[in-house]
Subunit: 142 residues, 2 copies
DNA sequence: TTGTATGCAAATTGTTTGCAGTATA
DNA sequence: TATACTGCAAACAATTTGCATACAA
C-alpha cells in the first residue's frame, strides 16, 4: 500500500523524503483516521524536527493525487484523513470523540438525484456521513 | 415565520433587539443560503454599526435552538445558514460558487444503517450533500 | 433598575505562505 | 548540481472571547 503511493509520487516527479514516508506510513498504520496534528504527534516520537506545515503540505499533495480523502467532523472544525479505498463507501462519525469509521452502505442513486436536481446541475459526487455516538462515548456519557 | 422564531426567543427569556430581528429577517428573505458575512453585509445596508461578532453570536444561538442549520461547502472552509424546514431534506451544493439548494430526496434508511454500524453505535442523524456544478457555473467554465 | 446583548479589539484555531537553507535524484 | 522539499516564522481567515457600555424588559 505505502509502496504503491511512493511509486505514484516518483512517477509524478516528486522526491521521496523521510518526512513523506513517515506521513504515508502513519496514514497506513494508524488505528483510526488521524487529524493533521495527530499525524505530526506520531511522527514526533521518532523525529521531533518535522513541522506541522510539512504535514499539511503533504496531505494537500496526497489529496490532489486522490490517494487520501478528508472527512470533516461537524461542530468541531476538525478534519481527519483516510487513505482512499478502492470501493465507494461512507462514514460513521462519532459526535463525542470525533472518530470516524467506514460504513459499507450507500443507498445513493445518482439518476434519482439527477431527477430531483434538474437537468442543468452536473453531479460530481456526494458525501454521506452518519452521525451518532460510538459505544465508548455512550458509556462515558453516564 | 420570523414571528414564530421571535416568540421562541421570548419564551426562552431572550431579549428582542433590532440586530436579532435583522438577522432573522435576512435568513428568512435571502434568495440563497447566506454566509455569516453575507448576512452582515446585508444588514449593513440599513445599519452599518452592527458587528460580525453579533451575527455569529446570534447564529450560534439560533443553531442551539434548532431553528437554523449550517451547511458546509467542502474545500472552501465556508459555512452557509438556512432556516430549518419542517421536513427532512438534503442539499445540492455547487462546488463553483458555493451556493446550496434544497433537494427533496432522501434514500437513507436508518435501520439499514444501524445494521451495518453495529448495535453499539447510537445513530443521531446524517448529512447527505450532493456536490456538483450549477447551471451558472457550468456556463462560466467554458 | 437589572441583566442580557452589543461593539470593539484582542485572542484563538486551523491552515497556508515566503524565504533561505537542505537534501534528493 | 539543480530543483524540489523542509523548517521557521509570519501571515491568514473564520470564528470566539473579555470587557465596558448600552438597551430591552
Amino acid at each position: 500500500m505505502t509502496e504503491k503511493i511512493i511509486q505514484m509520487l516518483r512517477d509524478r516527479g516528486c522526491k521521496i523524503t523521510p518526512q513523506r514516508r513517515a506521513i504515508i506510513q502513519v496514514l497506513a498504520s494508524f488505528d483510526k483516521f488521524p487529524t493533521a496534528q495527530e499525524i505530526l504527534d506520531h511522527i514526533h516520537q521518532k523525529d521531533p524536527d518535522v513541522g506541522l506545515d510539512t504535514v499539511y503540505r503533504n496531505l494537500n499533495l496526497l489529496i490532489s493525487m486522490g490517494v487520501i480523502n478528508q472527512i470533516s467532523v461537524p461542530g468541531k472544525d476538525l478534519k481527519v484523513f483516510e487513505l482512499a479505498h478502492d470501493k465507494h463507501h461512507h462514514h460513521l462519525v462519532c459526535l463525542g470523540c470525533g472518530e470516524a469509521n467506514c460504513l459499507n452502505y450507500c443507498p445513493i442513486d445518482d439518476s434519482e438525484i439527477q431527477k430531483s436536481a434538474g437537468p442543468g446541475f452536473k453531479i460530481v459526487g456526494h458525501s454521506l456521513e452518519i452521525y451518532g455516538y460510538c459505544p465508548k462515548c455512550r458509556a462515558a456519557a453516564r
